[in-house]
């Protein structure tokens, strides 16, 4: 509950830690804000995509002649309009990309690799003509056997998606191709020796289903290419510099010719970090010489944009009777979808990250299947592996008769702990979240009939990266702040607050915008929980540049050395021996003399933000089970997380609450359901059911603040960690209520009921 958080957790600040109204708020409650599909360019055409009905098929030929000749059709593009790309992996946020695969994902080349894979795209003067044109495109498919399940895909003799795929990370390299793109391994110590010391060992296999980010706004863009090759794209994206880079690369154009503007974004959660429609819209616009607008339907979003991996996870943990873990081992098999690049690597790195272990080993496999290529989804990879590990830890606690928080405290990573994935942790707040959970009233409140309580923890890395911010001092002393990381959940408010804090001015003196790719240097995307951290750091640097310049200008006016002027509370004054010699000047006064003292004043920070720090969380879930239907309902939930520092507590709480809601959906409802024909059976919100208001309770939050010493305001980044603990917290609550350990997500009513019936027959059920 909001009231549990102090309104000004850090009283040394005027703005940081307050709950200011966001600057983009009024536009968003009045319908004025313009999202991806809200822009119409003069003369724009409608672009539509023809998609493969087959999960796996060789494309022998594509005949677009009838479509191209339909009156009203202005352009058609196919694989022939995109040059092939060499195979090389390039870091893109928390995932790696390979342009050989990206060009094939935006438009199928040799084969269609999943149902929904784009085959051709048309631009026409109306939606109905565009749809009619799609029907006129003739595609000659040779349908091939497909594989959907990750374990099936790893079997010898499974249908091969890529005939040249040799598993990376295996020595010596396999001689034959397979669907296993990569093997990764992390850990240290000697797990066999560790298990030999164990007095209790729990070993379990888990499965999770692919789940979709489920942003309410479908992918949408408008692209316009002029006769001289200058291109503009308006798009809903988490990173418009990334869109620019991908489009320029796929189309073979100069980066500088492409200007990308980020629309207001209607949710992303990682899913809007890649390109789907944008290169097609640009290619169509270039051919048609008119702007082309493309918007996905919800069905297209489900069939052809990235969910996250489904997975099989095997976990083995050994402990002594006092609860000290002596060894942890995990094997992860993650579906990547049609192209290599599942988040198995971060999944493997996260699996045991909250714990201080002497002996730990995690092996992961990245496996291609005939499904849409996965995209990042909030802490990509982490929720899957940590669900499995946190479930086994709970089982150990139950078997030892130990409090699960106490067991975690006994093993918790602290400053100086060597993480299972390699580095040593700096100051971290994991222990503080566990202590806060133990102290929370929720932990002590008695349960009602048919209810169980579970606790689970979670970890995410957080990242920094390339960031540019400009801050102009306007001639009347107001300020214009331009950042380049799209604002998905209150970023602009947080940046204004940090700038106001630095400058000692009121919040309403600063107007903030997200600039386009022509207005700032490169910005890496909004992802990895980096936006408030990185753009915040750059904003502070830009503000300090403005302050330095203001002092310089006053010094010039007062004929004093620069270091004899100090900045305080929104203005400058002579300091030291010269104090009192001149009347202080406000920032507005300085703005007024800017022209005479050297020209416009602006700060421009261009940084690679280093020093991102992980965020740990501990969640408590109470779940009530209907003994007749098996339906599990979350009746109380508390999310506790280290924010480093909450710049705007309401939006930090919002991240915790939103992550929990997505995690509850992942735990109880959400899954991609495929038929034996390899086609998705639930590509809509009716059958792919995300949590609605009546499914959820209020979500209590506690913000723990262990500041990140590498950020001027202590920010860690908070967006991703909250989705990590819910699946295990709920599974652990179900185990508490029923006596049954659930290892297969989602824990939907039929599965829970079947497991209950089985346990009742065996006499092990608690209800």
């Amino acid at each position: 509950m909001q009231e549990k958080v102090k309104d000004a957790p850090s009283s040394q600040f005027k703005w940081v830690g307050t709950r200011a109204v966001r600057p983009d708020g009024v536009d968003k409650v009045t319908g004025r804000a313009r999202f991806g599909a809200d822009l119409a360019m003069p003369g724009q055409l409608v672009g539509k995509v023809l998609r493969s009905p087959h999960p796996h098929a060789r494309i022998r030929a594509i005949d677009v002649s009838a479509a191209a000749n339909l009156p009203g059709v202005k352009a058609v593009v196919t694989r022939d309009d995109f040059k092939d790309q060499p195979s090389e992996f390039i870091p893109a946020g928390e995932m790696m990309i390979n342009y050989r695969d990206v060009v094939r994902n935006v438009m199928a080349r040799e084969k269609a690799l999943y149902e929904g894979h784009p085959i051709a795209a048309v631009a026409a003067t109306s939606t109905s003509i565009a749809k009619q044109a799609l029907k006129l495109i003739k595609v000659d498919y040779e349908v091939l056997p497909h594989v959907i399940d990750v374990v099936d895909a790893m079997q010898p003799g499974a249908p091969l998606l890529h005939e040249d795929m040799i598993t990376a990370g295996v020595e010596p390299a396999p001689k034959t191709p397979s669907n296993v793109a990569k093997r990764v391994e992390f850990g240290h110590g000697d797990v066999a020796a560790g298990f030999a010391q164990a007095e209790i060992i729990v070993e379990r296999a888990f499965t999770t289903k692919p789940v979709h980010q489920g942003y309410i706004e479908p992918h949408a863009c408008v692209a316009s290419v002029s006769e001289d090759g200058q291109a503009d794209v308006w798009v809903t994206t988490q990173g418009h510099w990334i869109v620019r880079a991908h489009c320029a690369r796929l189309l073979g154009w100069d980066v500088g010719k492409v200007r990308v503007t980020a629309a207001e974004i209607g949710g992303g959660f990682g899913g809007k970090t890649v390109v789907y429609l944008e290169p097609l819209a640009l290619a169509l616009s270039k051919k048609a010489r008119r702007p082309v607008k493309m918007v996905m339907t919800r069905e297209e979003v489900f069939r052809a944009s990235g969910p996250t991996s489904g997975a099989h996870v095997h976990v083995k943990i050994g402990a002594r009777k006092d609860g000290r873990i002596v060894a942890g081992e995990a094997e992860l098999k993650y579906q990547a979808g049609a192209f290599a690049g599942s988040p198995v690597q971060p999944g493997a790195m996260c699996a045991f990250a909250p714990y201080d272990l002497e002996n730990v080993k995690v092996v992961g496999y990245d496996v291609v299947t005939n499904r849409p290529k996965v995209a990042a989804y909030r802490a990509p990879g982490g929720p899957i592996s940590e669900f499995a590990v946190e479930s086994v830890i709970d089982e150990i606690a139950r078997k030892l008769g130990m409090d699960p928080i106490a067991l975690r405290l006994k093993n918790a990573a602290k400053q100086g702990t060597r993480a299972a994935y390699g580095p040593k942790f700096g100051p971290i707040g994991f222990v503080e979240t566990l202590e806060a959970a133990k102290a929370h009233a929720h932990w002590r409140t008695p349960l009602q009939k048919n209810q169980g309580r579970g606790v689970a923890s979670g970890f995410w890395f957080n990242i920094g990266g390339e960031t540019s911010v400009s801050l102009q001092l306007n001639e009347d002393g107001t300020l214009s702040l331009t950042a380049g990381t799209p604002d998905i959940g209150g970023l602009r408010a947080s940046l204004c607050m940090m700038a106001a804090e630095e400058l000692g001015v009121d919040l309403d003196r600063i107007r903030v915008q997200i600039g386009d790719t022509g207005q700032l240097g490169y910005n890496f995307l909004t992802g990895g929980s980096r936006a408030t951290f990185s753009s915040g750091m750059a904003t502070v640097e830009a503000a300090r540049e403005v302050i330095k310049e203001a002092c310089k200008r006053a010094a010039k006016l007062w004929e004093l050395p620069e270091d004899a002027v100090e900045y305080m509370s929104g203005g400058v004054r002579p300091a030291g021996a010269n104090a009192g010699k001149h009347a202080p000047m406000t920032l507005s006064d300085i703005a007024g003399i800017a022209g005479k003292t050297g020209g416009p004043i602006a700060g421009y920070a261009r940084i690679n933000a280093h020093g991102a720090a992980p965020s740990f969380a501990t969640h408590i879930a109470d779940v009530e089970i209907d003994p007749e239907t098996g339906k599990a309902t979350v009746v109380r939930y508390t999310a506790i997380q280290d924010a480093g520092r909450a710049i705007h507590p309401s939006y930090v709480e919002g991240q915790y609450q939103g992550g929990v809601a997505q995690g509850i959906g992942w735990a109880l409802n959400e899954e991609y359901i495929y038929g034996p024909d390899g086609r998705l059976q639930n590509p809509g919100f009716l059958d792919y059911r995300v949590p609605v208001a009546s499914d959820l309770p209020m979500i209590d939050t506690v913000i723990v603040e262990v500041p990140n010493p590498r950020h001027p305001y202590g920010v860690r980044g908070v967006g991703e960690t909250p989705i990590v603990p819910p699946m295990a917290a709920i599974a652990n609550a179900l185990a508490d209520a029923t006596g049954v350990r659930f290892t297969d997500l989602p824990m939907s009513p039929p599965k829970v009921l079947a497991a209950l019936d089985e346990a009742r027959a065996a006499g092990t059920a608690k209800m």
Partner: protein, 158 residues
């Protein structure tokens, strides 16, 4: 395809538009009338982002044809504020930080207004069930429900 000429009232103003027989009310609002505050999230009536009122009744604009709007009075998010003065629901959504990305916000506001017109003193459960047709993927609904309850209290003068 021949277009139909339709006359209706939107946010109190008379409007006329041409639409194809298959165009939804949502297509008409967004494309013909330029009222893009009403959002398209699914086009199957499952997400509530296109919530509007038609003669006072809450509907998904994607589930109604444009031609069916003839002679009706339609309310959209663009008509919710009274001049410069925000509706209490709009103000409370801002104060409670009841939005993150904001794409679902117009639909939630239109639906919540419709609730409070019928039930000025709803319980938390009533609010949750009335808004169950509006999907939000960002907030977990907590702050939305609080904002609606707080706005209701303010509007009752409580």
């Amino acid at each position: 395809m021949a277009k139909h000429h339709i006359a209706a009232v939107v946010n109190g103003d008379p409007v006329e538009f041409l639409c194809e027989p298959g165009d939804t009310l949502l297509d008409v609002l967004r494309d013909a009338l330029g009222l893009t505050g009403t959002k398209e999230g699914c086009s199957t009536g499952d997400c509530g982002a296109c919530s509007v009122t038609v003669d006072g009744r809450l509907v998904c604009a994607c589930l109604m044809l444009g031609v069916e709007a003839a002679g009706t009075s339609i309310g959209t998010i663009e008509g919710m504020a009274n001049g410069e003065e925000l509706h209490p629901l709009q103000r409370k959504f801002l104060e409670h930080a009841a939005l993150q990305c904001g794409i679902c916000t117009p639909g939630f506001l239109v639906a919540a207004k419709s609730l409070l017109e019928r039930s000025p003193d709803p319980t938390e459960t009533e609010v949750r069930y009335w808004l169950a047709g509006n999907l939000c993927r960002c907030t977990g609904y907590d702050k939305i429900v609080r904002a609606v309850l707080d706005a209701a209290a303010e509007m009752r003068g409580a």
